[in-house]
């Protein structure tokens, strides 16, 4: 079963990679940002499986973005692979340090503390004039091991880089879900004291999840910074976290693929709405979120699972 979904996922990624040169330019840029954001959403899903909602995941997203932008600006080093990787590493390290604190919290308190931490970063960035305050600053054009593409070629290269990192992350998170620590997510959510009676440290399990989500957030932020070519403090604002949470809830915690499909759908609808009816965009979002929570609480990904189950058991 696991193998089959890996094959399907691999094929989907391969198809997405091969299709790119034949797609219009704007679709490729849109998909790049959507997949970069999907990494953050994937991190949220890792947490959400254990019943944790983070209203501050934008902290790692913003960190990743600023790390990429700052290293390129200070050292002139522009290799995309290394920069994005560094973004992920910094996200992971910060998550590791904050994890000692945040892994002790649950439910609403987890959400509030993560919110506070991301707003601290926002507050610092907004007042740092050397980094452009609220305007932020632009990111140098990245290179790929000496290859320095421009315009369309750059878009494609970034897209493939994003796809590659997404594929690795999806594989990694999928593998993590099948480990014991990953499988303990649902029991932790249901009743963590019983999990502790099994001899497992719940806060350790959660700490690992926080770090994974941090790394994914950093990677996503780094990729998004390169793709957009600009970073600003709004990357750390709570509404950014909110929209990641939105995609996670919409997609549901059921599967890894849901994060990518959900994020692509989200960016697609967003650019469509921004073109045709910008004044209704948040209203559409809010309504979709409400309908999802009220009628499909497991997320849209669960509809597929339900369909598959029905097929498996013909009545």
């Amino acid at each position: 079963m696991a193998n089959r979904s890996q094959i399907i996922g691999g094929l989907a990624f391969a198809a997405a990679a091969v299709a790119a040169p034949f797609l219009p330019d704007w679709v490729v840029s849109l998909a790049t940002i959507a997949f970069a954001n999907a990494l953050v959403v994937l991190g949220l899903i890792v947490l959400w499986r254990a019943g944790l909602v983070s209203f501050g995941q934008a902290l790692y997203y913003c960190l990743g973005g600023y790390v990429v932008a700052l290293i390129a600006r200070w050292t002139g080093f522009t290799d995309a692979f290394v920069l994005v990787l560094l973004g992920g590493i910094v996200g992971g390290i910060v998550a590791f340090i904050l994890g000692f604190l945040i892994a002790r919290y649950r439910e609403i308190f987890f959400a509030m503390l993560s919110l506070a931490l991301s707003m601290i970063l926002y507050g610092v960035l907004v007042k740092t004039e050397s980094l452009g305050s609220t305007d932020g600053f632009s990111v140098l054009t990245p290179t790929f091991i000496g290859y320095a593409p421009h315009r369309d070629a750059l878009n494609l290269a970034l897209y493939w880089l994003t796809l590659g990192i997404c594929a690795f992350s999806a594989l990694g998170v999928g593998a993590y879900f099948r480990t014991i620590a990953g499988a303990l997510a649902a029991p932790v959510r249901d009743n963590e004291i019983r999990v502790e009676f099994l001899g497992v440290s719940v806060s350790h399990v959660i700490h690992v999840k926080v770090v994974i989500a941090g790394i994914l957030g950093g990677l996503g932020g780094g990729l998004a910074a390169l793709a957009i070519g600009h970073v600003d403090p709004n990357m750390a604002y709570w509404t950014t976290s909110g929209s990641f949470m939105f995609v996670a809830i919409l997609a549901g915690a059921g599967s890894v693929a849901a994060a990518f499909v959900g994020s692509l759908l989200f960016e697609g609808v967003r650019s469509f709405a921004a073109d045709t009816m910008p004044q209704f965009w948040q209203m559409i979002l809010g309504t979709a979120l409400l309908v999802t929570i009220l009628f499909v609480p497991e997320g849209l990904g669960s509809l597929l699972l339900r369909l598959r189950r029905r097929k498996a058991r013909p009545s």
Binding site: R104, M112, L113, M119, I120, G123, T128, Q279, Q282, I293
Partner: protein, 299 residues
């Protein structure tokens, strides 16, 4: 010395403003266990309603300014009442009993919808409503200038604090509330109509949220996105004091107010940082806030 005094007065005025916002939020959380993100929308609707009311009242008339203030407050609270009623009866009652974090997301969805509704109703331009602030005038104490309007706000916040704790302790409805806060199911078993208590509480909370927007309208430029900023501030205040505690909201508002005023006067670069820094620091030491005792874990 002057700096210390102005930190104190600015801090108090800001704390009053924060408390008026936070009290509705903490009341709703205390009774219903709902962390209401849509409180930011109540604030925004209250502010827009008040600005419209001020526009109508002062435009071309030479009526009494105090009446204008009253009209503004009533208009704001009326909007809060209607909005609260629609929300509670229309949406929230379907999600009672769901996970707390799920309900947060529901209110977040409502918040998103209402953000656009504001634009639909009032458009994208900003509304000035400075007339009550100007009409109130100011007092000079040596080098220190105090706006009378700020004094009114502080008095209003103090009245709310005293009034709410009095109402909780000594009125029949307050006693009922305390029972529901303590244990919802036992309260229901004793014949308290929890549904009605919920509705009334939510309406009071919504009206307080709109009231905070209304009284702030003259001090700020009523424009898009005010709800977004306010709601995280209110979260910080409520989290510091302890969610659901009115004394907590008061102390949280004072702490944040004074700290921010001190930062603004001494090191303006850290203005925003200070608010959330204090919040994180308090949560590290007391995860449930200053005025709420830790809950025992249930097996």
């Amino acid at each position: 010395m002057l700096t210390a005094l102005s930190i104190l007065t600015d801090g108090l005025a800001y704390a009053a403003y924060l408390f008026i916002i936070a009290i509705g939020l903490t009341l709703i959380f205390g009774v219903m266990k709902i962390l209401n993100v849509a409180h930011g929308s109540f604030y925004a609707f209250g502010a827009y309603g008040a600005a419209t009311a001020v526009g109508i009242y002062f435009n071309g008339h030479d009526w009494n300014a105090a009446g204008g203030f009253l009209f503004m407050v009533i208009a704001g609270m009326a909007i809060g009442l209607v909005l609260g009623l629609v929300l509670e009866r229309g949406i929230l009652r379907w999600v009672y009993g769901k996970d707390e974090v799920i309900v947060v997301l529901v209110t977040y969805a409502v918040f998103l919808i209402l953000e656009d509704l504001v634009v639909l109703i009032w458009g994208a331009q900003s509304y000035p409503a400075y007339q009550p602030l100007v009409a109130a005038g100011s007092i000079d104490l040596g080098d220190l200038v105090l706006s009378n309007y700020d004094i009114v706000l502080v008095v209003l916040a103090a009245l709310l604090a005293v009034g709410s704790s009095w109402a909780l302790r000594f009125t029949r409805y307050g006693r009922l509330l305390t029972t529901v806060i303590f244990d919802r199911e036992i309260a229901a078993a004793f014949g308290i109509n929890v549904t009605v208590v919920y509705t009334v509480t939510f309406l009071i909370g919504a009206m307080l949220g709109a009231l905070s927007g209304a009284v702030m309208a003259p001090k700020i430029s009523v424009t898009l996105g005010i709800g977004v900023e306010v709601i995280v501030l209110a979260f910080a205040v409520v989290a510091i004091g302890g969610m659901g505690s009115i004394e907590g909201a008061l102390v949280g508002a004072l702490i944040v107010g004074i700290c921010r005023a001190a930062a603004v006067h001494l090191v303006p670069q850290i203005e925003l940082f200070v608010i959330y820094g204090v919040m994180a620091a308090v949560l590290i030491v007391r995860p449930y806030g200053l005025f709420v005792r830790a809950q025992p874990r249930k097996i």
